[in-house]
Symmetry: C2
Subunit: 224 residues, 2 copies
């Protein structure tokens, strides 16, 4: 999947223009949205809810001075836009070609509860990662998380190796993991040199040793 750059979305600064019209398109017939499509913005009036069918959506909050924290990366099957009150508590944008399915405002209490519970668990896991894990541990954890969401069960490789498309850029990963682009890149290099992962392309990665990677993620192994 190429990164077709339809929108010249300069993501550098925090201008984040208001292309809110995206909803209309997806509502029509589950169209494919291009990368860097803003679904809704933090602070704006409450937007509809979606289920991700293909692709990836990032939810984030931004400080007044532009510092950004990605709250979650959402892959196929999961919901985006659940919230309370009349304002969005975070922004959401697509990270790749993404297909969304609108979800009824009122889903069954059970589904809603389950979905909220999952979001809560993931948010708490992120807090643990941000508060107490080192940079290599964070990057390893991120790769395992993404493998779970985007990894194909296809195992043409040996020993449970998993290959998948890395939707987030290095900058996205940095904003997710509380690091900088440079640190993320350096961690990748170290993991690669340690033989735990490999890149076919900067956005296509293979986990060669998921078990070792999991031990790095848990802090059981210092990584060389």
């Amino acid at each position: 999947m190429l990164t077709m750059l339809a929108e010249g979305e300069a993501r550098k600064g925090p201008p984040l223009p208001a292309m809110m019209g995206a909803e209309r398109k997806s509502r029509a017939e589950n169209a494919l949205l291009p990368p860097r499509t803003t679904l809704f913005l933090e602070g704006f009036s409450r937007s509809p809810q979606y289920r991700v069918l293909e692709g990836c959506v990032a939810t984030s909050q931004t400080l007044t001075d532009g510092r950004r924290q990605i709250i979650d990366l959402v892959g196929p099957g999961r919901l985006v836009g659940l919230g309370f009150g009349d304002r969005n508590r975070y922004s959401a944008e697509t990270l790749g070609l993404t297909r969304l399915e609108p979800v009824a405002e009122t889903l069954s209490p059970g589904d809603l509860e389950a979905s909220l519970g999952e979001m809560l668990a993931r948010s708490q896991a992120l807090a643990m990662l941000l508060g107490r894990k080192t940079a290599p541990e964070r990057v390893a954890s991120a790769l395992l998380d993404l493998a779970g969401q985007f990894g194909r069960p296809a195992r043409q490789q040996k020993r449970g190796a998993v290959t998948f498309h890395l939707f987030p850029t290095r900058t996205d990963l940095a904003d997710w993991l509380g690091l900088t682009v440079e640190t993320v890149s350096r961690c990748f290099t170290r993991l690669k040199k340690a033989g735990l992962i490999d890149f076919q392309h900067s956005d296509r990665v293979t986990l060669l040793e998921p078990l070792h990677l999991a031990r790095v993620a848990a802090g059981d192994r210092p990584l060389s």
Copy 2:
């Protein structure tokens, strides 16, 4: 993927004894629980839910090597123990003399949704704090949060100053804010010297300039 901790998780300092009998007491007639009472432990079978009436409860997760992350500090009026699945996803302990009220397993969908939404919002705010804020910003944010939960509306002081009991120790605060005890202490000292806060006692604090403090918390002001 929860690490179902086996049993005697030695976390250096506090041995975290297995006084799970606490539930029984509170169930009887909302008794006052002493500080450092464990309500339930991460990984153990699902425990009942409570509403905090007085005092403070900390929820936390612990890595296998002992690193601890406090997920939330819960004050009067809020719920503890909501979760899904058959295992607790975090531990909970009292931080001071605390009175709990057992809450029915099945609260109204509305209440449950509201409570989960609040937990989610707080967890996301914590992620932003941990991922993108500096140490002084974190400490200032924490003080404002605790003032909101524990501050009396009593304003015997001038200009909206708020005094309240600091239930968490420096270590608790460090584990909440992703810092060390020393850094928390140093930030307190700096805030005190800047005239933004004052201590009557190490666990009794007054916010002298809540507005300035809020600007520090938001990163609008570098703190001298």
